[in-house]
Symmetry: C2
Subunit: 311 residues, 2 copies
């Protein structure tokens, strides 16, 4: 029985991952690309941002497991054969952490805490009238499992919440929109727009001038989806002409954000370094080992993504 | 029947207050100190930071109503005769607004959002491991109506919460402490300490070296009580020696905070200009007029404070 996992994640430090996987399964063989051996025997790969074409070196590959909730990186430079099962991390903490992050940013925004931070640096005492959560409409673009968790936490904290998803969804306390026809109505109602979409060929570049122009003027943008959802020049223009009042960005096309990028010292952009939610190897290695065991038993993977939809 | 209110609030702009009170009672006479007339007839004064000794000019004064939740300003430079009823504003929005502000600051703190602001200014990409609410103990010093509201919102958002008050209080979901004997046990458990005490002769200067030394090292302080609760030099020392990791201050002994104050450019102090909760005259004038009518009918005031306790 094949009890091996190959990790392909050239960007990442892997000590914690190796430790966490071994803690789950003592007899596990872990090999790290490019120093792994006998590639014809490898069936299970754990990966983050794999190099172009790398999977072609594994003729008997059966499972590609993402080290995070996103899987776009797996498809970015690789064509994945249809019979290979691609899985993502699914863990309540991811949704909880991300929800708490979005709540923090929404509260900071309506209380102008970023403005006060800058006023302090100028030694300026200037109270600003604040908005309350119940007067603030937050629109969630991408109303899947995580989007719904974010929406529920915001509702619990008195915000008004709307949800938009490509397929029709209903929710007890949240008005939902779907399909391109309903998108304008959704967008024009938002005081804050939160992008939580998966990155697919359909959603790439969706945060662009056409979308911004449909928002209520002065809307605030929070991007916790992926960097490639955003057309960066269109954002700068929308901030310039006041269509957007500001933006909180946690994800970027290139990470770390390059030193010379215009976002760093833009006075209406708040940057966080992709920390809205962090995957803890010691929490999620259990589900990776469980899937390896399912493979050994000939069972289908859990948390498998739909390759057609790419999420 | 005396249908007059005199407003004594030399620091404040009063247009909105006058409009709001008139909206509640069209026949009301409003006079503004020092231009008010026939002081021997005045029975009801609405005030914020009254000048020293001012009430001695009103021989038939029966009610002094504070324009906010705090009343310390009434006693600061005046001795109030025992038969005069002193009232405060009590409105759920005050507690709600203040609770949301404290939640914002607690979330910002555990997510290091203030650190990220400063990293952004240095164009530095540096993810910091975050703490979660359920691993964070918030201690509420002053567990009255507002303190309990803050505690409940924090509990709802997964924080661990402890409450301390001078008199014994119990709460369904929150461990409570009281009396000086229990104070050390309370203090040594807190990751974040929130001061919500009323300002009295007993609590003045309570945030001092003796108290800081009993905290868990690295505790974070939030002062939304009053400026005079804090011994400013002791705070600077506790930040210097690491006993406190930082402080968010919304209230100050002198407001606006003077230009040359050491707090402005202290890297571990976050300043907001007394905006944790704002009293909206259009919301609270109803309860002021209701008390005026109760006075006319010979009934006791609502929201009357206990002059002995000063809150």
């Amino acid at each position: 029985m094949n009890n091996k996992i190959v990790i392909i994640a050239p960007d990442r430090s892997l000590d914690q991952w190796v430790q966490a996987l071994k803690d789950e399964n003592k007899n596990l063989t872990i090999e790290i690309y490019p120093d792994d051996t006998q590639r014809e025997e490898t069936e299970f790969i754990l990966t983050w941002r794999p190099p172009a074409g790398v999977f072609d070196q594994y003729p008997n590959l059966k499972v590609i497991a993402s080290m995070g909730a996103g899987v776009h990186h797996i498809f970015a430079q690789n064509t994945i054969k249809k019979h290979i099962q691609v899985t993502k991390i699914e863990h309540p903490r991811l949704a909880t952490d991300l929800s708490q992050f979005v709540l923090s940013i929404c509260l900071m925004h309506i209380r102008d805490l970023y403005a006060y931070f800058k006023l302090q640096q100028k030694k300026k005492w200037k109270p600003i009238a604040y908005k309350r959560p119940n007067d603030t409409v937050v629109g969630i673009l991408g109303f899947g499992q995580i989007g719904q968790s974010v929406g529920e936490l915001l509702i619990k904290n008195n915000f008004q919440v709307l949800g938009y998803s490509s397929s029709s969804k209903t929710h007890e306390n949240i008005t939902t929109y779907h399909s391109e026809q309903q998108l304008p109505q959704f967008l024009q109602s938002c005081d804050i727009l939160v992008c939580l979409l998966p990155l697919t060929s359909k959603t790439r570049g969706i945060l662009n001038k056409t979308l911004f122009d449909q928002l209520k003027p002065g809307c605030y943008l929070i991007n916790v989806g992926r960097g490639a959802h955003l057309e960066e020049d269109d954002l700068l223009e929308a901030l310039q002409n006041g269509q957007l009042s500001g933006a909180s960005l946690d994800v970027f096309t290139e990470e770390p954000l390059p030193q010379d990028h215009a976002f760093w010292d833009h006075k209406r952009i708040q940057i966080t370094p992709h920390m809205a939610s962090a995957t803890d190897p010691f929490v999620v290695s259990e589900q990776i080992i469980a899937n390896l065991e399912r493979l050994q038993q000939g069972k289908a993977m859990k948390n498998r993504i739909d390759q057609k939809r790419e999420y």
